[in-house]
Symmetry: C2
Subunit: 333 residues, 2 copies
């Protein structure tokens, strides 16, 4: 490890919670990554709605703080940063739009076409245009990695495609939305009605003001589409998923289930036959899928290794950033 | 995927349950691996106590079956197969010996010195001579992978080192021995004494005739040493582990724990401060570490991703072979 670490220049497009988290974990971890992985990661461009900052030698803490405070940005567009600033990896962390995939979709296409690798947490482009993006990446001989898009810090996509490479995958079944899991866990524990717990979740920042994407199962369905396409090689979109949310679940139903030894969880399931389904399901209390709070979980049914279950934090800016950072490292190792 | 798949020739040294499992999964999966990973895996040599068979063009099913039935082997030693038969990967699957590491240790050194990659399920050499083997592999520019040695089919070593590459690891805590987990689970469920359940486990093949390595915590300790060395960069050996087994656990203790909301599990724990410990511990019933039957589980505490838990089958020839097969594939991808 005495050789000079390889410099990897990145841009961060979208500088909200996740993008900010990426800058933060790189700040904390730069020395450790250089030592452990022989890589010196430099942020050479950041773009979001407040504007753009660039520095081909690596942005300083000060410059990044100034952008956060709304300081004077460069006279450049986001797409110009992606195309014209020399760098190796574009991190796409703009918010998910499941109708159009934009602006993430254009960012990713632009990055691949200007020969940058892509690491993203953005579900929209992957759920809408998975095959097109993979084909473009293959044509350009670039990688597109997206571990943060499903399950946050919980490893699942690379776990299946790499760690379980020798296995055929039969199905994936899990809790992929922490907000729904929190609401159902609290409803069961406290025997409280849905509306009450939703309000509590909104107050502590676990549910959004408009909670529909989470509680109606849309977020889970979009993640399922990404799993279907990346693990099973399908060409699925959101329309292919049968979706039921948790808004009709009552404390009575949870109590009945509980008395019989079950919990009710919002389960997303995809199998190799092409079935994609999101619905509240009974989960035996002793099943590894029965995890509480905001945790995510997935059980992967394989033909050789049997069932593998993974549990982790599905959300949080540092958690998502950790998955993005691991993806960046893995492009070069 | 229209290019001709790359041929990867392997030897299997040690042809018991695990080695036989490797031949079996390669037989089942050859076409699928060629299609999905562009690799044609050929077994060119097999060696065990019954003798040696080799074929540089790939051994036929018939030849492999004949060896199993004790048919006439070649006039060659195991070390000659490793050194003289041209191949890329030596699979070491002889039984673990934690006192000397042999014969696995000599097999692995011989393979690396004759420029073969090594994939192994054998804990002995890794627990005794980890650093020496890694240095030799680095010097020879070869890989040594050993996912099957800890947790069987449950991904843990590559999960931590690769999927969680961006994270600092604080500790690893888990159930790493399926036999102990089975015994404690049954004792708790049925309120039966240790001796009774041990006998039952021996009858159904879950415990060995001499169960001491499992029930006294030795197997768990050896796996912990491998984790300490491979994840935390320690240079630990078995002597560094504080070990207590499960032989003194009574149904009364399990019942007391149960009434208070806990299970008793044999937990192995290693942390970055250098503490290595195997002991029966109270695990809250709702903790992800509380898994039953013969399952293995590990919770990895990280600095960015929080706690990640993985659950899977810790034993079984096909499960171990699946981890070995994934390791072989990952050397080339």
């Amino acid at each position: 490890m005495k050789t000079k670490p390889k410099t990897v220049r990145i841009s961060i497009i979208g500088f909200g919670n996740v993008g900010g988290g990426v800058a933060e974990v790189i700040r904390r971890k730069r020395a450790e990554i250089a030592r452990k992985h022989g890589m010196d990661i430099k942020i050479v461009g950041i773009a979001d709605l407040r504007g753009v900052i660039v520095n081909e030698n690596g942005l300083s803490e000060d410059a990044i703080m100034k952008l956060k405070r709304g300081g004077k940005p460069e006279d450049m567009t986001t797409l110009e940063v992606i195309k014209e600033i020399e760098h190796e990896v574009m991190v796409e962390a703009t918010p998910t739009n499941v109708e159009t995939g934009e602006p993430g979709l254009t960012h990713i296409i632009t990055a691949l076409e200007s020969d940058k690798h892509v690491v993203t947490s953005n579900k929209g482009p992957l759920a809408l245009e998975y095959r097109r993006l993979m084909e473009l990446a293959a044509k350009r001989d670039k990688e597109i990695r997206f571990e943060a898009s499903v399950g946050g810090a919980m490893p699942i996509i690379s776990l299946i495609r790499e760690n379980l490479a020798g296995n055929g995958i039969i199905s994936i079944k899990g809790i992929l939305n922490g907000t729904c899991n929190y609401i159902l866990t609290r409803m069961a524990e406290e025997e409280l009605p849905y509306e009450h717990v939703l309000k509590e979740a909104q107050e502590i920042g676990i549910a959004e003001t408009d909670p529909s994407k989470d509680v109606e199962g849309i977020d889970t369905a979009v993640k399922l589409v990404i799993l279907a396409n990346s693990v099973f090689g399908m060409n699925a979109t959101y329309e292919d998923v049968e979706v039921t949310g948790i808004t009709e679940i009552t404390p009575d139903a949870l109590k009945l289930a509980n008395d019989a030894g079950y919990m009710i969880k919002l389960i997303g399931e995809v199998d190799r036959e092409g079935c994609l389904k999101v619905a509240p399901r009974l989960v035996p209390k002793e099943d590894p899928l029965n995890v509480g709070g905001t945790l995510n979980v997935a059980t992967i049914k394989t033909d050789l290794a049997g069932d593998i279950t993974v549990i982790g934090k599905g959300a949080g800016p540092i958690e998502a950033a950790s998955a993005i950072l691991s993806d960046i490292i893995r492009i070069y190792s």
